[in-house]
Symmetry: C2
Subunit: 281 residues, 2 copies
């Protein structure tokens, strides 16, 4: 049995793969060139998954790692806006689809394919699955240290597709806000990841308290501490809490990351990245 | 041609319907007993669709209307938590599935079927479609003035299913936050609704500024005014803005509505309900 046959025999795509026998362009080959593949998930929407994804990518890149971001939210793709690359387009080249480049971070997203930013992607599950497969298989990610995969909320098609398509995922980071209703959905996401036999790398509590810019008092808009309590309950690591900061939101809206800022939010995020990197050493 | 045949001939379910010829239990018959069917949608998650849904339902019920809430978010069903009816279960009765009852508001949700609140619903599109169909067709909603349908974020399976399955929808309310990245996705939702030939009843801007409870100064966490600007841009009515209020979040977490409160958020919401009711008079 040749090496090629062995590789194909153990592949989840066997049977449906059109690349069999071709060197370097199948999912297994593409993904083998990426050291650590991390998914960013949540049960509830609007908790800051995409913000965590781009800031984690920037923090890792600033430390000298080669990083890519795969935006697996097909109907609400926000990564290009947050990375300030809305005007770029994905192009088909000889080696595959060339990813966009956000000051050194490679990125692929539906928003980089659509003709207009207001065009809705009114697609059912199988179409979304096929788009995600293209982002994994056809994009020329090259050699990377980290691929950050930003999932849409929920436990349906996109998370399932990513979990089934990508071999050798390092694990999942679950983002939540401290409010009960977000924790409720996040516990579902933790359980989905566990059922899929993937490690939960940890939980990040986002939007955890706000320091009033006028009087400096703390306001717990969405309560606080719930992420840590949940992490203990479901027995997974707690990576840290990020306070709400109007500056963070404004920076995201203008395509800037905040992890490099000497603010409370920036420093909290940097500590989370340190904790995460310890897991990979 | 009999009346029954005529009804079935014009029905979108013709061909796949198993209730043909039966009186009172098909989608068309069930939905004919509900005067106004309104969907609550958004592009982005976490903007407060479910909070708007339950408070709209409560406000209408307090005015004497008969109201139901259909939770069409299959993988992240939060309506029972927000209505304080997490301990209820949907039961099969002679007339169909009996909806839960939240102090007079009828409700159906996946969360009222699951054995545990932490169980993830790891389903692909067709399974979700069939659950939504059951909520529309098999639940004994009875005679209602309003059915509020709370959609999950995005423009994929659930919104498509609801838009295709429910005949005679009154229209959609789009909920957004003022931040650019939410507006981006909300414009997609507006366009999806328009493409489906459904009226956009209006846009609600949620989480619009916060008054510091310590110093009373205003903090624009997610910016402000974006919802109104977007409404003008896409030429649909602007229904109003709801400020962020830590009290609103805490009340949701304990299953209470806030529309009856004499707070800034409660009064803003009441004005939105008035504006909406003018459209139905």
């Amino acid at each position: 049995m040749t090496e090629e046959n062995e590789k194909c025999d153990s592949c989840a795509q066997k049977g449906s793969c059109t690349e069999q026998g071709k060197e370097g362009t199948c999912i297994v080959d593409r993904m083998a060139r990426i050291k650590h593949k991390i998914i960013i998930a949540s049960g509830k929407g609007g908790v800051g998954k995409s913000t965590v994804s781009v800031n984690l990518a920037r923090a890792l890149q600033m430390k000298g790692f080669r990083v890519g971001v795969l935006d697996a939210d097909i109907t609400g793709p926000d990564i290009p806006k947050l990375l300030g690359i809305e005007d770029q387009k994905l192009m088909q080249e000889k080696e595959g689809i060339e990813p966009a480049n956000a000051q050194g971070i490679k990125a692929a997203s539906m928003a980089l394919i659509l003709s207009s930013r207001d065009t809705p992607v009114v697609w059912r599950g199988p179409m979304k699955m096929s788009a995600i497969k293209q982002f994994i298989q056809d994009v020329n990610w090259g050699e990377l240290d980290f691929l950050i995969i930003d999932l849409p909320p929920g436990t349906s098609d996109e998370p399932l597709s990513v979990l089934q398509l990508i071999p050798d995922l390092a694990g999942a980071i679950i983002v939540t806000t401290p409010q009960e209703v977000a924790l409720l959905d996040s516990r579902k996401a933790v359980n989905m990841v566990k059922v899929m036999k993937l490690p939960v790398l940890g939980i990040i509590e986002n939007m955890s308290g706000l320091r009033c810019p006028h009087c400096q008092e703390t306001i717990n808009i969405f309560s606080s501490g719930g992420g840590q309590r949940m992490a203990e309950e479901v027995d997974v690591p707690f990576l840290g809490a990020i306070p709400i900061d109007p500056e963070v939101c404004a920076m995201g809206d203008t395509g800037q990351t905040f992890v490099e800022c000497k603010t409370q939010a920036g420093e909290s995020f940097s500590r989370i990245v340190e904790r995460l990197l310890e897991m990979f050493n």
